[in-house]
């Protein structure tokens, strides 16, 4: 199977929310990608939500391909997992800041699971992110920086969520990272409630403060 074949499993034509599935990691799936069978790919039990409701979307922000595994757990409950990974491969031979390979392997293994499921075409979305995406630590300048941010344009707008009945977004992660904070703050201003869970405890409503922008960022944000 090719990257395009795997993409079509994650983004079946006609299903809601799949227009936001990013092709970037799928494009990098080719015959040179080695898949290590020993890697644990257990789908976790979800405890913080019992079943999907039409007014709730989830953003899973866990390291590497753990968000894919959890997305599959949510798919079993009736959510549509939407991978929105946007990290690219490093130059051959170079040390990189982020390991995007495990995402590709997760998407391949996950596609095989998604294939077995019957997800409703109108299922609410569970967006999948790698919480390591903003790892920008470079021990020296020779390192290839393939870290990435999630931007507002990578997600549906607040208006689109609300128009489609979604007024609550749960973040599943250790915290709400700075790039997500900027997006979610504007969602909150437009009437969407934001919740956070670490996966073990119940979801807690959070009130986001206006993120800090430098003068330059403020101007760029116009």
């Amino acid at each position: 199977m090719t990257g395009k074949d795997f993409y079509k499993i994650w983004a079946p034509i006609g299903a809601k929310w799949v227009d936001w599935v990013r092709p970037v990691p799928f494009v990098g799936i080719n015959e040179n990608l080695k898949i290590y069978e020993v890697e644990n790919f257990t789908i976790p039990q979800i405890n913080y939500i019992q079943k999907p409701t039409t007014e709730t979307a989830i953003i899973i922000d866990l390291p590497e391909n753990n968000s894919i595994k959890e997305g599959l757990g949510l798919a079993k409950l009736g959510f549509r997992p939407i991978p929105i990974y946007n990290g690219t491969d490093q130059q051959d031979g170079a040390m990189a800041t982020v390991d995007n390979k495990s995402i590709k392997i997760g998407l391949i293994k996950g596609a095989l699971e998604v294939q077995k499921m019957q997800i409703d075409k109108n299922a609410p979305p569970a967006f999948l992110l790698d919480s390591n995406r903003m790892n920008r630590y470079k021990m020296n300048q020779s390192v290839f920086d393939n870290s990435w941010d999630i931007y507002a344009q990578d997600l549906p707008s607040a208006e689109y969520f609300l128009k489609n009945g979604i007024n609550k977004i749960i973040i599943r992660g250790e915290s709400i990272q700075t790039d997500l904070q900027k997006i979610l703050y504007s969602f909150q201003q437009k009437g969407i409630s934001i919740y956070l869970t670490n996966g073990y405890e119940n979801t807690q409503k959070v009130i986001l403060k206006k993120p800090h922008y430098t003068a330059k960022e403020e101007r760029d944000d116009i």
Binding site: T2, G3, K4, Y7, K8, I13, D19, W20, R22, P23, V24, F26, V27, N86, G87, T88, Q90, Q91, D92, G93, A94, M95, Q141, S142, V143, F144, D145, N146, S147, W148, D149, A152, Q153, L155, P156, S157, E159, Y160, R219, I222
Partner: protein
């Protein structure tokens, strides 16, 4: 020119093919699909006209930038960022024949049935795969042998191959954290690789300069490079810390584009025309096509002007009221007031929308490339609003008629 619909039953496969075979990795922007459901077909006559205008504009632009480089005092009205101004004197060793010059001129049809020019993407134009592979997929899906297109990618890599030693190493300098930059570089890298070049994907700070020659410091890819293809805008490059970027300005390593491109990149470029005309440079084509451009403080009570950032890209921060979202318009006006020298005021042209067979109306921006002074193909975008920005959709451009008519 006309918009031809892609058959509905073929569109989804066409879109997938563009993602996976044509480097279109950003098919969605907010709630907008960025892959048009139409194809732009221009007549051979329109193509000939645009080809001629592009080459005339290009000649005027290159003469201007070379004159400015010889006499930097003339460049003062450009009000370039201080960090760039400080380095300009280094470009005295610029030899155009050593480098590869690439530009894209953005044309718009107007209600007067003329062309208006909104800008030249002089520094780092994009849209490469859209101008090279997308048209072939459009021909395939329309099953229309009566259309042809100019393959931009073929022309660009041939131009690079003429100036870089065979099997040489080329660094494709871009913002490595942005997949939408990488998709452009990956297209170019794959094409250059097929010609035998050694390709390094790197960031602006992965190059150092010794004796005016570029050297890669990227982990596992260290050593001299034979050419630089830069996709990081110059005004972003100069923000990189620590400062190692000065070498880009006086490197003898063949570059595409060399920083000389900044003179025409700023939308304040028309403010030096009077000075340059006194030196014998003409701007007759530019003047025919570019709407009247004045300083922000000259607008006063004049009507019909819009504001554009001097260093703006992809239609951002342009004050076309009906195209602005939420409080964007008010924010732009406030920014113009605060930083008038960083904007220009331009007479708003009346974009003529194209109407599809289904009755939909789209505004068009038709980008026309030049490589080494010759016309090199098209990159187009359409939008329901009269501002072409990141919300717009990419559309392939085909030319009506037999290819041998060209």
């Amino acid at each position: 020119m006309k918009l031809v619909s892609i058959p509905k039953d073929k569109y989804e496969e066409y879109r997938l093919n563009l993602m996976f075979n044509a480097y279109k990795w950003d098919p969605q922007f907010f709630d907008n699909n960025t892959i048009a459901k139409h194809v732009l077909v221009i007549t051979n006559k329109e193509h000939k006209e645009l080809e001629k205008l592009t080459e005339q504009l290009d000649r005027e632009t290159r003469q201007a930038e070379e004159m400015l480089n010889k006499n930097l005092k003339l460049a003062k009205p450009l009000a370039l960022p201080h960090k760039i101004n400080k380095e300009l004197a280094k470009m005295k060793n610029y030899q155009p024949e050593k480098h590869i010059r690439l530009m894209r001129y953005d044309f718009h049809p107007t209600i007067e049935n003329k062309w208006a020019l909104s800008e030249v993407n002089s520094d780092v134009p994009g849209g490469f795969a859209e101008a090279s592979i997308m048209p072939q997929f459009a021909i395939n899906v329309l099953k229309s042998p009566q259309y042809w297109y100019k393959n931009f990618g073929d022309i660009l890599v041939q131009a690079i191959a003429k100036k870089v030693k065979p099997k040489g190493t080329i660094m494709l300098v871009h913002c490595t954290s942005f997949s939408d930059d990488r998709q452009v570089m990956q297209f170019l890298g794959d094409k250059l690789k097929s010609l035998g070049f050694n390709i390094i994907y790197g960031a602006g700070d992965h190059l150092r300069f010794k004796n005016n020659k570029a050297i890669s410091i990227l982990d596992g890819n260290e050593g001299e490079v034979d050419a630089i293809f830069r996709f990081t805008p110059l005004e972003w490059l100069i923000e990189i810390k620590p400062k190692h970027w000065q070498g880009y300005f006086d490197t003898i390593t063949p570059s595409c584009n060399h920083p000389i491109a900044i003179f025409a990149q700023t939308k304040r470029f028309p403010f030096v025309w009077n000075r340059l005309e006194k030196q014998g440079i003409t701007f007759s084509t530019w003047k025919k096509l570019l709407p009247e451009t004045i300083e922000v403080n000259e607008v006063k009570n004049k009507e019909g002007y819009i504001f554009k950032p001097a260093c703006g890209r992809v239609g951002e921060k342009i004050s076309i009221k009906e195209a602005c979202k939420d409080d964007e318009y008010e924010k732009i006006l406030a920014d113009v007031k605060k930083h008038p020298k960083q904007y220009i005021a331009q007479k708003k042209f009346n974009s003529k929308p194209l109407i599809t067979d289904e009755g939909q109306s789209f505004h068009l921006c038709l980008g026309s490339y030049s490589v080494e002074g010759k016309h090199a193909g098209y990159y187009a975008r359409i939008s329901k609003l009269p501002r072409i920005d990141s919300f717009s959709a990419d559309i392939p451009v085909l030319i009506e008629g037999e290819e041998n008519d060209r």
